[in-house]
């Protein structure tokens, strides 16, 4: 009797997956696990944590309007940022994906250009622009509006978040639209659909995977942003992230900070699951 060839995946195939597995486990699974463990440690004033495990960190978050309000604010800022990015990005992405202009390369570079400068530099740029005596308010004053206080307010933070994360919305939508066969649009036209109907019935539903990735990226990035709320908000706009950092660095309350971080992650994931289910339904209805 000859042995049956093993039905398992050969070892050398696993070797190819090794770098990715290592990366994922070392930089995602292990940190999450340690945060999860830290979040159920007993807090202490004299050391990082006291012996024993407890759920009191979570009970404190759920029982305190301050932290639930912070969570709601954080998710709201992220949602508004994602929504504004989507509205700004979709027409841009559509144009970039379909244009035959020789300026296409230049436009593409222009979309990516915000990524070429560090976040801190861009924040200082916005501080200069949005200050009460800044360029934006000067312009608003000239047309009789304002001055509008942008800095140290959520408005300014969201403006900067939109600016910084816009490319992450444009690129996936652009890729999704590019992947749509132009023949589908032509087929719909020959069947009697106007350009508006073609957009609604063909382009929009087929670009939905790009919209989903873009919204997820921007939402997650905005919900976890630290530098922008700190610099533009100047300490007067608090989000979960700025508070977590305060707990860790200012208060040395590691167990409580860890619990806050996990609550934020979990809430963001729940919002995104809801969003994905909703858009999947919308995609079916559009078709």
């Amino acid at each position: 009797m000859t042995k049956k060839p093993p039905s398992r995946v050969p070892l050398r195939h696993w070797l190819f997956a090794l770098p990715a597995l290592l990366l994922v486990s070392v930089f995602i699974a292990v940190p999450y696990f340690t945060i999860a463990v830290m979040s159920v440690r007993t807090p202490s004033n004299t050391q990082i944590y006291a012996p024993g495990f407890t759920l009191q960190n979570y009970i404190r978050i759920v029982g305190d309007h301050l932290y639930l309000g912070l969570l709601a604010d954080t998710l709201l800022y992220a949602a508004i940022t994602a929504a504004i990015c989507l509205v700004l990005a979709y027409p841009t992405a559509l144009h970039l994906a379909r244009t035959k202009s020789h300026l296409r390369g230049f436009l593409y570079a222009a979309v990516l250009s915000p990524l070429l400068t560090g976040v801190v530099i861009r924040c200082f740029g916005w501080i200069v622009l949005l200050a009460t005596q800044g360029l934006v308010n000067d312009a608003l004053r000239a047309v009789g509006v304002g001055p509008i206080p942008f800095l140290y307010r959520p408005t300014g933070v969201i403006i900067a978040l939109v600016h910084v994360f816009l490319p992450f919305m444009i690129l996936p939508i652009m890729n999704a639209v590019e992947a749509i066969d132009p023949r589908l649009e032509e087929a719909a036209r020959t069947l009697g659909a106007s350009q508006v109907t073609v957009f609604r019935r063909v382009i929009l539903p087929l670009s939905m995977p790009g919209v989903q990735s873009g919204v997820i990226l921007v939402f997650v990035l905005a919900a976890s942003a630290y530098v922008i709320p700190m610099l533009i908000g100047g300490g007067r706009v608090q989000t979960m992230v700025t508070v977590i950092v305060q707990q860790l660095l200012g208060g040395f309350l590691w167990p409580f900070g860890a619990a806050l971080a996990l609550v934020l992650s979990l809430a963001a994931i729940l919002v995104l699951i809801g969003f994905t289910l909703l858009t999947r339904r919308a995609m079916r209805r559009l078709a």
């Binding site: 719909a188 020959t190 087929l206 078709a287």
Partner: protein, 348 residues
């Protein structure tokens, strides 16, 4: 009613003409193929008819209605694309019903029409599948159903069989032609495959470099080509230099390497013209040496029903000849070629 008339259609792409001075009249219910090599302008012509390209000049009429500058959605056409262009996010039924919805038909009426057309393309029961769950041939038939269900004035087919394997292509050829005749729809069919054009069409337009070289029945295109390009593109052909030396009733008397032949040709040819005669391979017989023009067989391809020969004549001319399947001569043998003069045709 849905006659198609194209006058002086021209489409320029930055100074180069994709289509130039294209004239065509298609009768109601007629099946016309646009045949030519890739880049000859056949697809551009079709896209102008669909409204997907705007002609540089010229006039297109469906019946009495001029449509030259109408957008595609106002033309009432059915179009089938080479890659089928089925909407991947819709079921088969939704794909087929799309055009009916655009025409504002009620759900129930659309449903009935979809079911009827799905039966017609022999895909009854496939309504709830998604296009990706169908084979290429089935997708093709869904595309056909989607184009036909709106009862268009004109059916446009752009190389619809190019992505199918050979056997399925033959089946679909017969299927499309019989369906077209059953619903009696005026049809334009773009292809680079001469066999497709020959078997399906009432008439064929042969195009090269944006111009019509010949418009005629499959028989005319094959046996009476008007240019050497047409003769070379449709089937295999042999061209021999010839001099017209007179007329004998309807036929021309020509002097060739095979001697004096009576060949068919246009009526307006005068004597003393240097030209060519076209001899199809099946009109050349291989015989024992000394009966005609001598040469040596240099290639022999057994195709089953026929055998394809390449014969090098003693003067260096290469000739294609065919014989029925059990023909014996082998490569290297010397043979004599005899031309069936009833199947010869004059060419400029």
């Amino acid at each position: 009613m849905s006659r198609l008339s194209i006058r002086k259609l021209t489409k320029l792409y930055s100074e180069t003409a994709a289509v130039e001075a294209f004239d065509l009249e298609v009768a109601q219910g007629e099946f016309v193929s646009l045949l030519g090599p890739s880049g000859c302008g056949k697809t551009t012509t079709l896209r102008c008819l669909a409204g997907l390209e705007v002609p540089t000049s010229g006039i297109i009429r469906f019946g009495e209605r001029e449509v030259t500058s109408l957008p595609p959605e106002e033309r009432n056409i059915g179009m089938v694309f080479q890659n089928y262009a089925l909407f991947p996010h819709m079921t088969v039924a939704e794909n087929v019903a799309f055009g009916l919805q655009m025409r504002g038909l009620s759900r129930a009426v659309a449903r009935a029409k979809v079911d009827a057309v799905m039966d017609m393309v022999q895909l009854g029961g496939f309504q709830d599948r998604h296009p990706r769950q169908l084979s290429g041939g089935q997708q093709q038939r869904v595309a056909l159903a989607r184009a036909l269900v709106i009862e268009p004035a004109l059916l446009l087919l752009d190389e619809p069989l190019a992505n199918l394997d050979a056997k399925l292509r033959d089946e679909m050829r017969v299927f499309i032609r019989s369906l077209q005749q059953r619903v009696a729809i005026t049809t334009l069919y773009v292809t680079h495959d001469q066999a497709e054009a020959m078997t399906m069409s009432d008439r064929i337009v042969v195009m090269f470099a944006g111009r019509i070289h010949q418009l005629g029945s499959p028989y005319d295109i094959y046996f009476r080509p008007t240019t050497r390009e047409v003769a070379g593109f449709i089937g295999q052909s042999n061209l021999f230099p010839a001099e017209v030396i007179g007329r004998d009733d309807a036929r021309l008397v020509v002097q060739t390497a095979f001697g004096r032949l009576h060949c068919a040709g246009p009526a307006d040819i005068d004597a003393k013209i240097r030209a060519h005669i076209l001899v199809r391979p099946e009109a050349i017989r291989l015989t024992a040496l000394g009966n005609g023009l001598d040469g040596r067989i240099i290639q022999r391809h057994f195709l089953g029903n026929i055998v394809d020969y390449r014969v090098m004549l003693d003067d260096g001319t290469l000739v294609s000849a065919q014989a029925i399947g059990d023909a014996a001569p082998q490569v290297g043998e010397r043979v004599s070629l005899l031309v069936d003069e009833s199947k010869t045709w004059w060419l400029p």
